[in-house]
């Protein structure tokens, strides 16, 4: 299949290109020469960009098919312009065996939607006690190792896990949260939790764990990616670590760039997230850190939750928000608020994410993978259950009108989504 996209505003964050022009795809790749296309897409008035790379999306398989299925979530991904995604190992059973990873990859491949990069469990059952067979998991396709939202409490195990991963150069992706300080907490330990009578997770639950992780990186040389930073003090620690030239990257959930504890309002369970939404100053520091590159990427942290699990008191409600279809509009909104160019804005969800993931996507140069999206940055997107393809309709932005709609998504040189 040879596809010509013409007349669009071509934005390639990796090269900084931002001009009206053509993009040609052949043999699953971005191609240089213009042969005769099988299909021509008219992108006049639209933006042509690399497909989004989301470093955190839960597909809920295996084990949680009642919350969402691979079919529904892969549809949501391409409708949201996400052409590559990394999925956390917190399935049931967790991705701690090559057979599970293999099956997930084969199922995903058969659906031929977005590319799926599984994260393997760092410890068996994510229990934080025994190391998984990382070499086996790697061979079956795991790109990195993670504990999802279950931090390792035992620092001896954590140290050994990082050492072992470093031996073979496997990247480790971890959230920084001290499980003891976070125990029982459901909201940021601040004024709102005090007022609402919710048990709090202090910001130092993040910084203490982060300081431990950074010290272990110094000792072991592990390639660490810190997931879902939540506090201003956490951003400062990362900034200092990068200055020191430690091999550390990090991401932030796109919701945390826009929302704070104040959005909990009267116990809005859609704002029950992991990590918790913190104060206004934290939110501002995350937004700024993402703009200045201290934070490498923004992720959707897509977590489909069924309505019953949200129609509960705040502390009993299941944490998480749907995100695959909101990543583009919320990233655009962030870029606009920070007055960034479109190329600068999209970098955090394309080429920067590709760098963390270590894949040849996220750019429009010739020979790069043929993952391309065409979108209208100004078209309204009404966040309503019926407009979401994901089985998870849980969003703090329900009822909002955001800007940015995907018109077409191309993965591996094939059109996998087109808006009717």
């Amino acid at each position: 299949m040879r596809i010509l996209i013409r007349g669009g505003r071509v934005v390639d964050p990796a090269s900084g290109r931002d001009s009206i022009g053509e993009v040609f795809l052949a043999d699953g790749k971005i191609a240089e020469s213009t042969g005769t296309p099988d299909r021509t897409l008219d992108a006049a008035g639209l933006v042509v960009a690399p497909g989004l790379i989301d470093l955190s999306a839960r597909l809920r398989e295996p084990g949680y098919e009642y919350k969402a299925t691979l079919e529904s979530e892969m549809e949501a991904a391409v409708a949201g312009g996400v052409t590559s995604l990394a999925c956390a190992p917190d399935t049931d059973p967790p991705l701690d065996e090559p057979g599970l990873v293999d099956m997930l990859r084969r199922r995903a491949k058969a659906l031929a939607r977005a590319r799926v990069y599984p994260l393997g469990a760092l410890t068996v059952k994510l229990e934080g006690r025994l190391l998984t067979e990382m070499a086996e998991l790697r061979a079956s396709g795991c790109v990195a190792f993670s504990q999802a939202n279950k931090p390792i409490a035992d620092t001896q195990v954590l140290w050994r896990a990082l050492q072992y991963a470093a031996t073979f150069g496997y990247p480790v992706w971890l959230r920084a949260e001290d499980p003891w300080l976070a125990k029982g907490g459901v909201a940021h330990d601040g004024e709102v939790a005090t007022r609402l009578g919710l048990s709090g997770i202090p910001a130092f639950a993040e910084t203490i764990a982060l300081a431990t992780l950074l010290e272990l990186v110094r000792a072991t040389g592990t390639r660490l990616h810190v997931c879902r930073l939540s506090s201003a003090a956490g951003v400062e620690l990362i900034r200092a670590a990068k200055k020191e030239k430690l091999r550390v990257t990090c991401d932030v959930g796109i919701h945390h760039v826009h929302l704070s504890e104040l959005d909990l309002g009267y116990f809005n369970s859609h704002c029950r997230l992991e990590p918790p939404l913190r104060g206004q100053r934290d939110r501002e520091a995350l937004s700024r850190g993402l703009a200045d590159g201290t934070i490498d990427c923004a992720v959707s942290d897509h977590t489909p939750v069924d309505e019953d699990q949200k129609q509960k008191p705040f502390d009993e409600a299941e944490p998480g928000a749907t995100g695959l279809e909101l990543l583009l509009p919320l990233t655009l909104k962030w870029g606009e608020e920070r007055r960034l160019t479109l190329a600068q804005t999209l970098a955090r969800v394309t080429c920067d994410a590709a760098r963390v993931l270590g894949v040849a996507s996220g750019r429009l140069q010739p020979h790069a993978r043929g993952d391309v999206i065409v979108f209208d940055p100004h078209a309204p997107f009404h966040v309503r259950p019926e407009n979401l393809k994901s089985q998870g309709k849980n969003s703090p932005f329900l009822g909002y009108e955001l800007a940015g709609r995907v018109r077409a998504t191309i993965v591996d040189g094939k059109i996998v989504y087109e808006e009717r």
């Binding site: 009578g197 919710l198 709090g200 116990f267 019953d308 008191p313």
Partner: protein
């Protein structure tokens, strides 16, 4: 910010979920109405027909004898039919969801739900789900609020001190876990109390408690100095020893109200406690039973206040 979910489109009290966010006029309306019911509770025939034919469902997801009983008495004195449901022992243990339980009871034509739940905010969830003519009264949700207790505390203070204008009120003990403290503090600040103090160790004070408009004291002798009202909070048994406190004895030594500490307060100070009391932990018996104590009148006023709340919401 969403509209205050307790008020209807006319700004009247539709549900009582929290004292926070209620205008001063509504608080005074409740206190004044309660005043008129105090007489009723002292008569030979202790009934008025205000809620005749209405059904009040006491929905207690957390065990409670006292609060449930006072609501039951209040409803009966208003001539309502009262149905007590001890949910902790029934539907929830069968796996029924909170909203399904409420929908089922609503189908039995309830007019008023009195809800107690271990989770902060649960009554807000229920209030969003009930039909427009149904009302929800929060009888205590997690650590968040216990508005009728807060109101009866305000009523008691006004009864003995007449006005809030010049008062210093000290709230002592486990503020962190106390819905009673949160409700009282919001009520006191809304009614213009110039000085509200909280007294306790750092482990029992929530983060940024000053943002509620209180002064923080860790030394009880400093904190009760010149106080007109001292409110002692209950310390739950499970919190008496562990990571928050070493022992009940040490807590009493530092924060228990004794005659000696009480002597530092205003000579006409009143001593309150929401009950049930732990004698020798929060409060010495000589103080609990002494001339400054208004702990039993609080219980009596509690019925009038709950009658006031029920009659007001049911009339809106």
């Amino acid at each position: 910010m969403q509209r205050n979910p307790q008020l209807n489109a006319n700004g009247e009290l539709q549900h009582l979920l929290s004292i926070e966010g209620l205008p001063r006029e509504i608080l005074l309306q409740i206190l004044d109405t309660a005043e008129s019911f105090v007489g009723v509770t002292e008569r030979d025939i202790k009934k008025v027909p205000l809620l005749r034919g209405k059904s009040v469902f006491n929905l207690f997801f957390e065990p409670s004898t006292r609060t449930r009983t006072t609501f039951e008495i209040a409803a009966k004195r208003l001539s309502a039919d009262v149905i007590n449901l001890n949910i902790a022992l029934s539907s929830q243990s069968k796996g029924e969801s909170l909203l399904d339980t409420v929908a089922n009871l609503s189908a039995m034509h309830a007019d008023l739900f009195v809800v107690r739940h271990a989770s902060s905010g649960a009554p807000f969830l229920i209030a969003r789900a009930v039909k427009p003519h149904e009302h929800v009264i929060n009888a205590g949700d997690g650590r968040h609020a216990h508005p009728t207790q807060g109101l009866l505390d305000l009523f008691t203070i006004r009864h003995y001190k007449k006005e809030f204008g010049g008062l210093t009120v000290a709230v002592v003990g486990d503020i962190l876990h106390s819905r009673v403290a949160r409700s009282l503090i919001h009520g006191l600040t809304t009614l213009g109390t110039p000085e509200v103090r909280v007294i306790g160790p750092q482990t029992l004070l929530p983060a940024g408690v000053e943002s509620l408009g209180v002064r923080v004291f860790h030394d009880m002798r400093d904190g009760v100095q010149g106080a007109d009202v001292i409110v002692m909070l209950r310390l739950q048994n499970e919190r008496m020893s562990g990571a928050l406190l070493p022992s009940a004895q040490e807590f009493f030594m530092k924060y228990g109200l004794t005659a000696e500490k009480l002597a530092l307060a205003h000579p006409q100070a009143i001593v309150m406690h929401p009950g049930p009391m732990n004698r020798g932990v929060e409060i010495d018996s000589s103080v609990a039973d002494g001339p400054h104590s208004v702990i039993l009148p609080q219980v009596t006023f509690g019925i009038a206040v709950r009658m006031a709340v029920m009659s007001i919401v049911a009339g809106n």
